[in-house]
């Protein structure tokens, strides 16, 4: 790790002020990704502003007037606490499952909800500072494009970057239509829809998301949904636990008997951001919840996929995982094969 100044603060606005003063400063939350990357010499901040004492950890109902319209999760709350909060387990079990699918118990005890959204890619060329990588050093080229790209994107990649975004939590947040609430340097809040939070690589893969320097994630807000009892998070990976997703699917079905009022589907491990499966959702709206319809939706979703040399399998795997997730969601959250 390069030397850095370690700065403490106990309120959000002073943290932000400290950060804007130094373009090479970074916020330190759980540190599970940042310290890893600093040890790899990929991240090189010269100042860390510790957010550990900020009081932005609460999970609480989102209220408009007298109505509960959703839930708010503190940006600096720990992943474990979010996953296990009684309100989230009851009304947003999809989020609980997605968080628990990620990393290990130890890491979930450290990692924050806001930090989770800011995870950087696991692309091994990004991690290896001896390799060209547009994300790490813009303009040097993408080594993964012609390299080992089994783990990489099948949707939305560009000629400059084929990396995937590794979070599980964010995939569920995408299906849940969440928003990211940030505090701007001016002190005012900005609400960014989760779909607009992460970016596709385009010509600027160095930017993972639309958060500006000096903005702090204070909360994640999730609107109420009608599929708590019919949701599923399915993750396919190279081992049964503690591995990044090859493909993951978050699915929620709002049902009326056997009929789908609406479907919410998002995919992980396939793109530079959580991939909202809108084609599939559109097809399923108003249809009966049958395996045939699930398959039709999955086929439609994967039609636009552009696989690379080593990840063609993700198309078939993606289809099957969508179908499987929809089946599980239909059977109900408590169902276990």
């Amino acid at each position: 790790m390069r030397p850095f100044k370690f700065t403490n603060t106990s309120n959000a606005s002073s943290a932000i002020n400290l950060l804007i003063k130094n373009p090479n400063a970074k916020f330190l939350a759980g540190g599970t990704n940042l310290l890893d990357l600093m040890k790899e010499d990929v991240e090189r901040p010269d100042e860390l502003i510790d957010l550990g004492r900020l009081d932005l950890t609460a999970v609480r109902p989102l209220v408009t007037g007298n109505n509960v319209v959703g839930i708010s999760i503190g940006g600096l709350g720990k992943n474990t606490d979010a996953a296990n909060h009684p309100l989230i387990r009851k009304d947003y079990p999809l989020l609980t499952k997605a968080i628990l699918a990620g990393a290990s118990a130890q890491i979930r005890n450290m990692a924050t909800n806001g930090g989770n959204l800011l995870q950087r890619t696991r692309c091994s060329y990004f991690y290896d500072i001896a390799m060209p990588c547009n994300k790490r050093l813009p303009g040097t080229g993408c080594s993964a494009m012609q390299g080992i790209n089994r783990m990489h994107a099948i949707f939305g990649w560009s000629d400059s970057c084929i990396a995937v975004y590794p979070s599980d939590m964010a995939v569920a947040l995408s299906a849940l239509n969440a928003s990211v609430k940030v505090m701007q340097p001016s002190g005012t809040a900005r609400i960014i829809a989760i779909h607009d939070f992460h970016r596709l690589p385009g010509n600027h893969p160095e930017k993972d998301n639309n958060l500006d320097h000096g903005e702090l994630i204070t909360a994640i807000e999730i609107p109420k949904n009608k599929f708590a009892a019919n949701s599923a998070y399915i993750k396919v990976r190279d081992r049964n636990s503690y591995a990044f997703a090859l493909v993951s699917v978050a699915a929620g079905l709002e049902l009326a008997g056997g009929k789908i009022i609406s479907a919410s589907i998002a995919m992980g491990g396939v793109a530079h951001k959580p991939w909202r499966a809108t084609h599939a959702e559109n097809i399923l709206r108003g249809k009966m919840a049958t395996v045939e319809n699930f398959q039709m939706a999955a086929d439609a979703e994967m039609e636009d996929a552009r696989p690379l040399a080593h990840n063609k399998f993700k198309i078939g795997m993606g289809k099957k995982t969508i179908v499987y997730a929809l089946e599980q969601a239909f059977k109900g959250t408590g169902y276990k094969a």
């Binding site: 390069r2 091994s124 390299g147 080992i148 636990s241 090859l246 078939g316 099957k320 094969a337």
Partner: protein, 753 residues
């Protein structure tokens, strides 16, 4: 509570009892200190800098920026290193294959990606790692080749050398394979591709060198051979053997990676000698991928069987990767004819030298590779012939080793098959592939045979009756987690008729009695036999001393007329005549009685026999065809490995081998980007070792096997045999579940979809 097993019964022989690890208390309390945990004062930290190119030359190394940082002591590289041993032979350790061993910092040449090219020494680890990033190196790159498959036509025969003593070349052809195969009514053939694997013990390779002045060093090293490292350091740095002491009290796993001195040892000693300071060098996890590994291999099999179910033609050829500088070999193709008595055989083993580091023995080297090809081809034949795979093995059961025409010293493989099948419930198998289901998952049963040669190497041990009348035994051998301390103590206790409480065994120090490197499942047989020999010599000394006492009742007693039991030497004829060890020590003027002895394999006797441990593995897999997820839900391994000294630790060895089998068949592989000549998953987030959630119901059976020939203890070793049979059994179970035969390891489920 005592760490001694509650059910340990002192009145019974200790050998054969399940006794908890004697060092267990230290390990569960964090008191056990490993090589990188001796916090000596005035310690410097070294961080190794590795080549980022695969082949070529270093043009320049600029250390100015790094050395300007306060706390950075020095950067060592090929231009400023002290003079070192010149002859490559002096870099050869006990496990060096034929060729010229790699010499760190020898010159400006780069031979492989990740080659260590400099050491930065600083006052703290974090500082050393950081400052190392400031060292600027320029290279001139040359073309290189790292891809075994792309260069397979360059395969050639390995060079001969001393290594062939333990790793014999393939047996000569017998009969006429081509003709016999052509005429076989049943034929099975396969191409088997295995990727590179790295040992990845959880402990990082580390050395703490304590500078003792005047060319003297005490070295805490992570190794499987203290004497091997002592020899290497003395030779390379031109030190006296007696001035180099290598200590490895605890070793955090090794699996073969510690059979050769690794480069952190070289760098730590170099810096300590040059700076006259104490220096610790610890590799990071990436660097754990920059030395020996299990080589990638390609194998071809063609087996033919006659209508009566007898295998009559065996052809097994293997092509493996090696480095440009050493011919590392494994025994891959020699096993099928040891297991199946065919009349026509043809075996070949060739190497392709590439721009990589030399491969290195990794748990069950060669065996775990070759048996996959052999046992999956056998499985294929059984399906073609519509014979139960187990029945097929029994039809072709080898009563003797046909590959050399000798009987086995013992062989209870048949019992392994039968007891394993019974325990597993093999008879519930529906022979038809894709016929068994559980919910939405396909279920498959598979079985396979395992074999591993039982070896013994020369070793020494020292045995002492202490002033308290207790026994102290020592050997330079390490305990890499196999249970050596416990097992050796058991052997010694029985030998001298003592309780376990009365025995101390010290080990892991090159100053102690010579032991070979710890590997190949030969440690118990080698060092255990030496302990037996040392105890036998000690018994003679005790008797001699007893005779010298005035009016000794032992005056005319010969060594075979006494027994050593209950802390005494007792006359067999008259049990009332005895002398306790404390009394002997008293008679010796309260001085200890010590003996050092040597055990060697009885070569002439052993030459008449083949010696091997055997096993049979039975595996159930569940395959989720929707998602392609494969789980080994249940497995039984039945092992015949001679005398089991400690069933508790031996079972753990086999369990470990079974988990390695799951890993080998389904998980681990180092993936190379051949454009860069570099492994791209040099970490254990993406080099997938199984986690808890990957492991389900595993059962171990030890089949009784008596062997008076293999060595005095009747032991065959249990370190590797757990990894011999189960990988192919998993592959065979996947075929049974899915009807698809995937011959590439690891089996990624994307290949199944």
């Amino acid at each position: 509570m005592s760490t001694m097993e509650k059910n340990y019964k002192p009145e019974q022989p200790a050998v054969g009892q399940s006794i908890s690890r004697l060092e267990g208390y230290e390990k569960v309390t964090g008191a056990a200190r490993y090589a990188g945990e001796f916090n000596v004062s005035d310690l410097l930290y070294g961080y190794v800098i590795n080549s980022t190119i695969t082949k070529g030359k270093i043009i320049s190394i600029n250390t100015e920026k790094a050395e300007a940082i306060p706390g950075v002591v020095k950067v060592f590289h090929h231009k400023n290193r002290p003079s070192l041993a010149w002859f490559s032979m002096q870099y050869a350790d006990m496990d060096a294959p034929p060729g010229s061993p790699f010499q760190p910092l020898a010159d400006h040449k780069i031979k492989y990606n990740g080659q260590p090219i400099a050491l930065l020494v600083a006052e703290s680890f974090e500082l050393a790692r950081y400052a190392a990033t400031l060292v600027e190196i320029t290279y001139e790159q040359e073309d290189f080749k790292t891809d075994l498959i792309a260069n397979i036509t360059e395969a050639r025969a390995p060079k001969g050398g001393l290594a062939t003593f333990l790793k014999p070349p393939p047996p000569k052809p017998v009969g006429n394979f081509e003709k016999a195969y052509e005429n076989s009514p049943f034929q099975a053939s396969g191409k088997f591709v295995h990727g590179t694997e790295h040992h990845n013990p959880i402990e990082l390779f580390t050395t703490t060198t304590v500078y003792k002045g005047k060319g003297k060093v005490t070295i805490y090293d992570k190794t499987q051979g203290t004497v091997n490292c002592q020899l290497y350091v003395a030779n390379v740095f031109g030190l006296h053997f007696k001035d180099v002491r290598v200590i490895s009290p605890y070793v955090g796993g090794a699996f073969g990676s510690g059979l050769r001195p690794q480069y952190q040892l070289f760098f730590s000693v170099l810096a300590a000698l040059e700076l006259k300071r104490n220096v610790r060098v610890t590799l990071d996890r990436h660097q754990m991928f920059t030395f020996g590994h299990r080589p990638p291999t390609v194998q071809f099999t063609r087996f033919g069987a006659s209508a009566d179910g007898k295998v009559n033609a065996l052809n097994h050829e293997a092509i493996a990767e090696t480095s440009r500088f050493e011919d590392y070999t494994e025994v891959v193709v020699n096993w099928s004819h040891m297991l199946y008595p065919a009349k026509n055989t043809l075996f070949k083993y060739n190497l392709v030298p590439l721009d990589v580091f030399s491969p290195l023995d990794m748990r069950a080297p060669g065996g775990s590779t070759g048996l996959h090809a052999i046992e999956s081809t056998m499985d294929d034949l059984a399906y073609q012939m519509k014979i139960d795979p187990l029945e097929f093995r029994l039809i072709n059961y080898a009563e003797q080793d046909e590959s050399v025409g000798r009987p086995y010293s013992s062989k209870e493989l048949r019992q392994c098959y039968l007891q394993g099948a019974e325990q597993f419930g093999w008879n519930k198998r529906n022979p038809e592939p894709r016929s068994m289901r559980r919910g939405n998952k396909l279920v498959g049963y598979g079985m396979a045979t395992g074999i591993w040669e039982a070896m013994q190497l020369p070793a020494r041990a020292s045995a002492t009756i202490t002033t308290e009348g207790k026994l102290h035994v020592n050997s330079a051998v390490t305990d890499i987690g196999t249970g050596t301390l416990t097992v050796m103590s058991q052997i010694a206790a029985d030998e001298m008729g003592l309780h376990m409480d009365d025995v101390t065994f010290t080990y892991g120090d090159s100053k102690m009695a010579f032991a070979p490197i710890q590997g190949g499942s030969f440690t118990v047989s080698s060092v255990g036999s030496a302990i037996k020999a040392a105890c036998n010599a000690l018994k003679k000394k005790i008797l001699k001393k007893a005779k010298s006492i005035g009016n000794s009742p032992f005056k005319r007693v010969k060594i075979d007329e006494v027994i050593f039991a209950d802390r005494k030497m007792i006359s067999i004829d008259n049990p009332a005549v005895f002398i306790s060890y404390s009394d002997i020590i008293a008679a010796n003027g309260h001085k200890v009685i010590k003996s050092v002895n040597f055990a060697m394999p009885k070569v002439f006797k052993l030459k008449k026999y083949s010696r091997a441990a055997h096993s049979a593995a039975f595996v159930e897999v569940e395959v989720d065809e929707e998602l392609g997820i494969i789980n080994v839900t249940r497995a039984v391994t039945a092992v015949a490995a001679g005398k089991i000294i400690n069933p508790k630790t031996a079972r753990s060895q086999i369990l470990g081998g079974m988990i390695w089998s799951i890993s080998k068949a389904l998980r681990e592989e180092s993936i190379t980007d051949h454009r860069f000549g570099k492994y791209m998953n040099m970490n254990i987030a993406e080099y997938h070792i199984p986690v808890h959630a990957d492991i389900h119901d595993l059962q171990v059976i030890f089949v009784e096997e008596k062997d008076d020939i293999v060595n005095e203890l009747g032991t065959k070793g249990v370190g590797e045999i757990g990894l011999a049979a189960m990988p192919p059994a998993i592959a065979n179970a996947i075929f049974h579940a899915t009807g698809k035969r995937v011959n590439q390891f690891p089996i990624h489920f994307d290949t199944l979809m």
